[in-house]
Amino acid sequence: MNPVCIAIISNENSPLLMQTSTAYKSSELDLMFLAHSSLDVIEEKLTVRSTGVDQRELYLGQLYPTEQYKIYGYVTNSKIKILVMTENTSQNIDQEVKTLFKQLHRSYAQLMYNPFYQPGDKIHFPSFVKYIEDILK
């Protein structure tokens, strides 16, 4: 798996953090458009899920097929969305992505412990940003 971009999006659909791997810095804006667009799919999936049986499954799977990237989504119980974009390969990386999402969720939850972080604010904490950057390396 080669993650290209990781985005954390608030429950009101505004971006809290968006980090792109160094190789893809030039297409950061395109990736941002892509991340924003994929909220449509998340919204739709959440609507379907709210009527479905298993509402506890946080992993939403692949959201959106594009020629260049694969976009995976994850929604926490407090409706914080986490997006991971990878290069479009034919490999099945579902399991890896799932593990990554769980790690990210845990780290985000730890960030919440920080009394200086107010939920809904953009995430500027160097330690957290570095953690995401390390994943993207």
């Binding site: 505004s14 971006p15 804006l29 458009f33 924003h36 739709e44 604010d121």
Partner: protein, 1108 residues
């Protein structure tokens, strides 16, 4: 949305070419000859019956009306030997069209001929000649010729029937022979009411003949297969399989067609792709894949989509000649676009899989094509103008390969000229419009699948293409609505910045200054991630605009337009053509924010209303503020809430990242007391004093629309700013009264007694109060409400003026400062309860407000008091027999009983009983009715008084009837301790309980002295009274007693006549003293008149007191 302004006719070797005929299913082509539609009505109607108003049940065919002299395609020469033959192409461009529109499977000749026509022979000859003419013009094509005879009536052919039938049969055979066709290929079409039935039958025969034709064609194509060798003739394998597939489609054998198209596709994959045939192979693959997907979409859409993906994956790598790489991108774009169109025609997609996605992919390839084309080197155009490419004979074949066998190289000169020609053509293509067309279609698709964000991002791409195409106005229309609202609403500032950048440039180029200012105000805000250098430039533009100077050209502005646009702006500014710009800031994430706070939630009528306004700027430099005004819900206050420049005309400066504040004050109007004042909107005018261009920023309050951003302004003062919360509304309330108000009352109040309430008002104001109005009202009035009466400070005059009221009002003109005014009110209640009184006092006062002058204010003060109303007495009535035995509210008629009334005081004060009497029911006889037994008695708290009345129910009262004993009336008044106090007499009526009358047949009345003396005989009699109207028989007797000696009959029986008495006498001599037990007197009823022994015993005394 607008699409490309013009569509160029595409050549079959253009990568974007698509044979339109492929999008429809092939229909068997049938030519109708000999119908003079314009001349004969019958023919016209026959033609219409074949071609128009066709029901869906009828076979799908393609009827064409042609003349007898129509020219048919010449049949190509059939190759019998392929040994040294090298194919020159894969699918000829003319083939599909030929079979769909030019080469009929069936040719039906219509001719008017009745079997019994007079000039039959002549007509037969004419028919034969026409048939042979047609056959000649078809020249060996396998087209089936059918003959349809239009007849005026129905003929039946039979060799053994009537002469006419025999003639018909004979002539029919003869005609078929003469024309060289079979009898089955000949049809009669009688022009009668059954014509339509005949046409339907004939049509089925047409279809059968057509199917036979296409079967024959398939066989012919198949026959070549054995002659071909694989490595050499792969192109022909593809072509033949395609043809078989296509003919199968005519035959409606879709699975067979699909199989052959798949074969063709697989053969095509075996062809080695190189620079000579790259485009041809890709275009044929595209055609085959289109056909495969079209057939697969019907049953298995997912398979169709995966086929397409696979197809693109395979051919993506066959780029072809490097110099023509734009063609590859063009082909990829076209493939995706065609597939998207097919997808949208075939079925509805879902959000994550819909035709729009393929249009987006197509647009990406079209963009790559545009980029590639822009990099093409320029060549000498003279050499190109001389070059004229031949018409392509095979799909996708390069012009320079025309007629060149597949294994041979083409002429270099030709190829170079051809490539140069293509490059020149490519340069002339309006690429932007190609991309715009695809993106427009994508937007239209995505709108259907609730993808507003994706639609927005495509619109941004679309706007970029419009920008390249120079359509600046369209961009403003496209982006400044929903798109920017969406990005702003969800705080995707980078995306909003991208939109802003584009729109700013467009607004500049279009000289649309309201939009220009709007975008500037938004771009300067701290939300915008634009770098500080650009922001300084943007602010510079804004400042120039405010000074009537042309703004700076945005960075994105195309260089060739900069100068001209700058000039136009200069002219506009000089001519002062710019009108007032008004911006709705609720819709923007602007660089200026403001908040409005009323100092308090409410102000008293004599207080100055304080309204603070705070303005915060996140611009890069100082911004000049010219005017701040707040519009309030009452227009007359708005004048007081305007901050204008001082007289020297200096603007206020709004320093970046600092809070500008101002406080407005005004005095509320008297008539606004009790209502609210809202701040409706804030208007801030920015600009320099003097000859500036005004820009007004307006915020509606309370702020709604896109919502306050949850992302806070940066820097340390964010906390300070966030702590300020809009408070856009305040209430104007009454002035606080400064008076003391009390209700004094002793507790409790007695039912029926006149109770006094003292209302005390103490004026603690610094000045006199006027128009003082007291309103006393009873809360929760019910039926038993007390009677309230005004006593006007004088108790003595109240007596006759009692009114039943629940509230009443009285007024006093002036109460001077420090005065204590008192009013008395008496109340009287008919029942015991707790009553609450509400006293409301209103008055006017003049207040001095210093510099704001003085105003008259109304004040209201209220107080409450409750009184407990209780009965003064508790009266307990009970009944006993004459011998003090208790009676349970049931009495026996004609037998006397006693009524005891025990009156206990429940009042805390001493009371005096002035009188009491019993108003007995007329149904009762009272033994004696003297004066009150308790008159004049004084009674303290919890002390009791008793009265006893003896009464009896007279004869004639019906048994078991119920009636009231009567009322007990007691008159009382409070005992005054003080000479000043005087109390009124109050009458209290107590309803005595109801009793039940019991009827018994007899009464035993003992007649005896009330006491005896020892050893002194006394006369003791029992009188038995028969109350019934019958003779009653009794047996009575007396038992021995140790305490008495007695004489008299010990036991006897006797009869008593109706309504008469019988007396039994005894003489008793007591031998002891004290309360002695009498000898037991017993009575038995000899007639069964009921269980009255117990009743009888209760009438017989048991003891007698004997004095010593």
């Amino acid at each position: 949305m607008s699409e490309a302004p013009k569509i160029l006719e595409k050549s079959p070797n253009d990568p974007g070419f698509f044979p339109d005929d492929l999008s429809h299913r092939p229909r068997p082509l049938i030519f109708l000859v000999g119908l003079a539609v314009g001349e004969k009505d019958v023919h016209k109607r026959i033609h219409e019956a074949f071609t128009v108003h066709r029901s869906t049940k009828r076979p799908i065919t393609n009827y064409q009306l042609v003349t007898a002299t129509h020219e048919y395609p010449v049949r190509s020469k059939q190759r019998l030997n392929y040994e040294n033959y090298i194919p020159v192409g894969i699918i000829p461009t003319s083939w599909i069209q030929k079979h769909l529109h030019k080469l009929p499977s069936v040719l039906a000749l219509f001719y008017d001929l009745d079997w019994d026509a007079q000039d039959y022979d002549q007509k037969q000859t004419e028919v034969c000649s026409r048939v042979s003419c047609l056959r000649h013009s078809l020249q060996g094509l396998n087209t089936r010729i059918l003959l349809v005879l239009i007849q005026s009536r129905m003929f039946h052919a039979s060799h053994s029937g009537s002469p006419v039938d025999q003639l018909t049969a004979k002539r029919m055979t003869a005609l078929a022979q003469a024309c060289g066709i079979q009898v089955e290929q000949m049809f009669h079409l009688p022009y009668t009411e059954r014509m339509m039935d005949c046409i339907l039958k004939i049509e089925i025969s047409f279809m059968e003949q057509a199917m036979l034709y296409y079967t024959q064609r398939i066989k012919t194509v198949r026959a070549h297969k054995d002659l071909l060798s694989k490595p050499l003739h792969l192109s022909l394998f593809v072509r033949h399989q395609f043809k078989i597939g296509f003919f199968s489609e005519f035959k409606k054998e879709m699975p067979v067609a699909l199989k052959h198209y798949n074969h063709a596709y697989n053969y095509l994959l075996e062809i080695q792709v190189d620079n000579r045939n790259a485009l041809e192979v890709k275009m044929v693959a595209g055609i085959l894949n289109y056909k495969i997907c079209q057939l697969t979409f019907v049953d298995n859409p997912r398979q169709a989509i995966s086929n397409f993906k696979k197809h693109i994956e395979i051919f993506r790598k066959h780029e072809g000649p490097r110099s023509l790489s734009f063609q590859h991108q063009h082909w990829l774009a076209a493939e995706n676009s065609h597939f998207a169109r097919m997808f949208s025609d075939a079925l509805d997609g879902i959000q994550t899989l819909n035709p729009g996605m393929y249009y987006v992919i197509a647009s990406k390839h079209a963009k790559t094509r545009k980029d590639t084309s822009n990099k093409l080197p320029t060549v000498n155009s003279n050499s190109i103008t001389l070059y004229k490419p031949p018409n392509p004979r095979f799909y996708g074949q390069y012009a320079w390969r025309d007629g060149v066998p597949e294994n041979e190289e083409s002429d270099d000169t030709m190829r170079n000229a051809g490539v140069a020609y293509l490059c020149e053509q490519e340069r002339n293509v309006e690429h932007n419009w190609e991309v715009i067309g695809l993106l427009c279609r994508a937007v239209n698709q995505f709108k259907r699948y609730s993808s507003r964000r994706l639609t927005a991002s495509i619109k941004v791409q679309l706007a970029e293409e419009y920008f390249s195409a120079g359509e600046y106005k369209k961009i403003l229309d496209l982006l400044l609505g929903t798109v920017s609202l969406l990005f702003r609403g969800e705080h995707w500032w980078s995306l909003l910045e991208r939109v802003g950048e584009l729109c700013l440039c467009c607004a500049y180029l279009e000289k649309s200054y309201p939009f220009f200012v709007m975008i500037l105000i938004e771009s300067l805000s701290h939300y915008s991630p634009t770098d500080s250098t650009t922001k300084l430039q943007l602010q510079d533009s804004l400042e120039k605009f405010l000074r009537y100077q042309p703004p700076n050209s945005p960075d994105k502005c195309p260089p060739h337009l900069r100068e001209s646009t700058h000039m136009e702006w200069s002219n506009m500014c000089e001519a002062r053509e710019l009108s007032h710009v008004k911006l709705d800031m609720n819709q923007l994430a602007g660089c200026i924010e403001c908040k409005v706070l009323f100092d308090r939630d409410n102000f008293q009528a004599d207080q100055i209303v304080i309204l603070h306004v705070y303005v915060f700027s996140s611009s890069s430099r100082v911004l000049p503020l010219k005017n701040i005004s707040i519009h309030l819900s009452r227009e007359y206050y708005s004048e007081c809430c305007t901050l204008s420049p001082s007289q020297d005309g200096e603007s206020f400066m709004l320093y970046p990242y600092s809070i500008f504040s101002h406080t407005f004050t005004f005095l509320p109007h008297t008539h606004d007391v009790g209502s609210s004042i809202h701040a409706d909107s804030i208007h801030i005018e920015i600009g320099y004093s003097g000859n500036e261009h005004p820009v007004t920023l307006t915020w509606s309050l309370p702020p709604v629309s896109w919502g306050q951003p949850s992302i806070r302004p940066p820097l340390e003062f964010s906390k300070k700013w966030n702590r300020l919360l809009n408070n856009c509304s305040t209430d104007i309330i009454l002035r606080e009264p400064k008076i003391g108000l009390y209700i004094q009352t002793p507790s409790p109040s007695l039912v029926g007694d006149l109770h006094k309430l003292t209302l005390i008002l103490e004026n603690k104001e610094e000045s006199d109060i006027s128009n003082v109005s007291f309103k006393l009202e009873l809360l929760k009035p019910s039926e038993d409400t007390p009677i309230v009466t005004s006593l006007a400070q004088d108790l003595s005059i109240c007596g006759n003026r009692l009114e039943s009221l629940t509230d009443f009002t009285f007024k006093q003109d002036i109460i001077t400062a420090g005065e204590v005014a008192t009013r008395s009110v008496s109340v009287k209640s008919k029942s015991a309860s707790i009553q609450e009184f509400h006293l409301l006092v209103s008055y006017d006062i003049y207040c001095d407000l210093g510099e704001h002058g003085s105003i008259q204010c109304s004040c209201i003060k209220e107080c409450r008091s409750s009184i407990n109303i209780v009965y003064p007495f508790k009266i307990i009535p009970y009944l006993t027999t004459m011998r003090y035995l208790p009676l349970e509210l049931s009495v026996r008629s004609e037998e006397p009983f006693l009524l005891h009334l025990e009156t206990t005081s429940t009042c805390p004060w001493p009371l005096k009983i002035t009188d009491s009497c019993l108003k007995q029911s007329p149904s009762l006889e009272i033994a004696q009715l003297n004066d009150s037994q308790i008159q004049g008695c004084a009674i303290e708290h919890e002390e009791s008084l008793s009265e006893i009345f003896c009464m009896q129910v007279p004869d004639g009262q019906p048994a078991n009837s119920k009636f009231s004993i009567g009322d007990y009336v007691i008159k009382w008044k409070r005992i005054a301790y003080d000479d000043n106090e005087e109390f009124n007499e109050t009458t209290m009526t107590y309803n005595l309980p109801r009793v039940v009358v019991k009827d018994i047949p007899f009464i035993i009345k003992p007649v005896h002295p009330s006491f005896g003396k020892i050893y002194e005989p006394l006369d003791y009699r029992y009188v038995i009274f028969n109350k019934t109207l019958f003779v009653q028989e009794f047996e009575v007797g007396i038992d021995d007693s140790p305490d008495f000696l007695f004489s008299g009959i010990k036991a006897q029986s006797f009869n008593v006549l109706p309504r008469s008495e019988h007396t039994i006498s005894y003489c008793l001599c007591p031998t002891f003293s004290g309360n002695l037990k009498l000898p037991r007197f017993w009575i038995r009823f000899l007639r069964d008149i009921g269980p009255y022994e117990g009743v009888a015993n209760s009438m017989i005394p048991t003891h007698l007191f004997i004095k010593p």
